[in-house]
Symmetry: C3
Subunit: 241 residues, 3 copies
């Protein structure tokens, strides 16, 4: 299975072109769009979101992840193997958080190049075809590199809003499991109680909960937490001691 994660947006011809290229090379492979509205041009926020989503991807899958404002610059194109999954995309920190959480991690700079490569669309011309090769158990020409050479100073959990969904729910870069059962979380100037699910609170009430990918998420039952609490990407979401 090849899984696609990008900030290309759900409209436009970009996802379709990447899919066309992959399926032309590997028509027998299942290709799934995981999401295409990852935090735009923001590899740091996207890194925490991707790391949380990864835990639900099947073993053996290949994930193409493209949040790549530096496309065409000298950031290296990477293959990353984290435990039993492959990742293909730009070396700009996007794989940093999932790599730290893996037990077994290796990385390669992609040396293979297609016959034609647009300067602005490596997703279609480089990362997609490389993923197709990996899904077919071909390893393209690549040079192993030390992961440390790419390390960032980003924290292990990010106390910020990293994604707002179309319901107005606000995901943070914090994992919920370390916080215990009763912890409160501060966001939008308020202290929020933990609840299990939406049906546990009255309509209009704000709360936080462990979302389905393990992150601290701020929500309002039948409402938009982003609107009610005035939250936007990058705003602080912090555990209350």
């Amino acid at each position: 299975m090849i899984v696609l994660f990008s900030d290309f947006g759900v409209s436009g011809p970009y996802v379709g072109q990447m899919r066309t290229r992959i399926l032309d090379e590997a028509p027998e492979v299942v290709v799934v769009d995981l999401m295409h509205d990852a935090p735009r041009c923001d590899p740091r926020s996207a890194a925490y979101l991707l790391a949380a989503l990864v835990t639900h991807l099947p073993a053996g899958c290949v994930c193409v992840a493209v949040v790549d404002p530096g496309v065409g610059s000298d950031r290296p194109p990477l293959i990353v193997r984290a435990d039993d999954r492959y990742f293909v995309g730009p070396g700009n920190g996007l794989f940093e958080i999932l790599a730290r959480r893996a037990h077994d991690m290796r990385a390669w700079r992609i040396d293979w190049r297609p016959e034609n490569m647009a300067d602005t669309f490596h997703g279609r011309d480089l990362f997609g075809p490389v993923a197709a090769k990996l899904a077919r158990n071909e390893f393209p020409q690549a040079s192993e590199i030390a992961w440390q050479s790419l390390a960032t100073a980003w924290p292990d959990d990010l106390p910020e809003a990293i994604y707002l969904d179309s319901f107005g729910n606000v995901m943070s870069g914090l994992r919920a499991s370390p916080l215990g059962d009763v912890a409160r979380v501060a966001a939008g100037g308020r202290d929020l109680q933990r609840r299990r699910t939406f049906a546990d609170v009255a309509p209009g009430e704000a709360f936080w909960y462990q979302n389905a990918i393990g992150l601290v998420e701020i929500a309002v039952n039948r409402g938009s937490a982003a609107d009610v609490l005035g939250l936007k990407l990058g705003d602080p979401v912090t555990p209350v001691p």
Copy 2:
């Protein structure tokens, strides 16, 4: 074939996670996104829309339908067999209208549970895997129930706006076939004439027609009926006697 119908939205990581889970279990099955902008948190409107769409689904298909504001509460998870199609989703009325219109109908409460189930994402963890099993001709552990135990008092046809599409066309919960060839329909404070298709009226003119799934739909040629007539979800759309 597995067909997906939800209010998850076309953006976000929700459809992708449900697809990933289904295709991990049943990689040989064709999975189609029917729509993911069903009336949000509104199982009643969604029930009329789904019932109209169902008539165009292939025999033998399995439809996962999730409009589920009560996820995590005690609404039962269901398998419904209506004629030659299976439906999987919440027992909150979503399948009520299609069930009434079926010749042969049975329903089961799903007893099977996955190893891990998020309180807020039964689409991914419960309904998706159950659909994968059904598509592979495995019937998961489930208890047959009397459909009447779940019945609502909703009418057979709903004289309201139930869906606004991105063109601004407004679908109602009324089937067109009982209305005859010449009936007028009132909506947005106006009486509208029936036309066959958009090309039959001048640009900017409002009319109603039998849409491609058999419903009374309000439209404006090369314009937005929602804007021109000021229509929103739940507004009355009523036959003029």
Copy 3:
């Protein structure tokens, strides 16, 4: 492979119904959504966009293209073979530009009709099933016609904004290759320099570049060219002599 191109929008039940029909007829065929936010009800702009995208489609694929404001009128339903690819859709000019650029071109009026055909949804009922037949090497009943009978007076390159993507980049109907390496382009009241990629300019700076499908595209690094330059669909984008 069947590739879908339409102005149906990414939300709504239209793409899903067309896909369901195609995959019910040809479950073994790979179906890819190329894009569904083509210029709405604007076959002329869409014709230049489609012609540019076509060069990246695999040989042998079948493309269903539907931008069809005249659905239900007397515009002919077409099969077009341009070099080694088939196209299926309305005879309203949508295939005009790609046909002019093909070395080998033939066209047929589709005579085959399905048992039931909605007046307003030929994508689902006519074009989709015809594409499924072509993908299975069945040629439906059709009458060859002279392409000249459908010709438009549209120019070979269109000096206008034909598509705005979700980043705010503005595609024109001009191919970049004839313009040489140093040409400037005027758009939004400004003369813009050519650059290779986003990383070559400072954040906020406007430029033009040859995009990944060969068109002149106006962009702003980490910004929206549509906003910065006040561009909308149909605005002039012209080479500066």
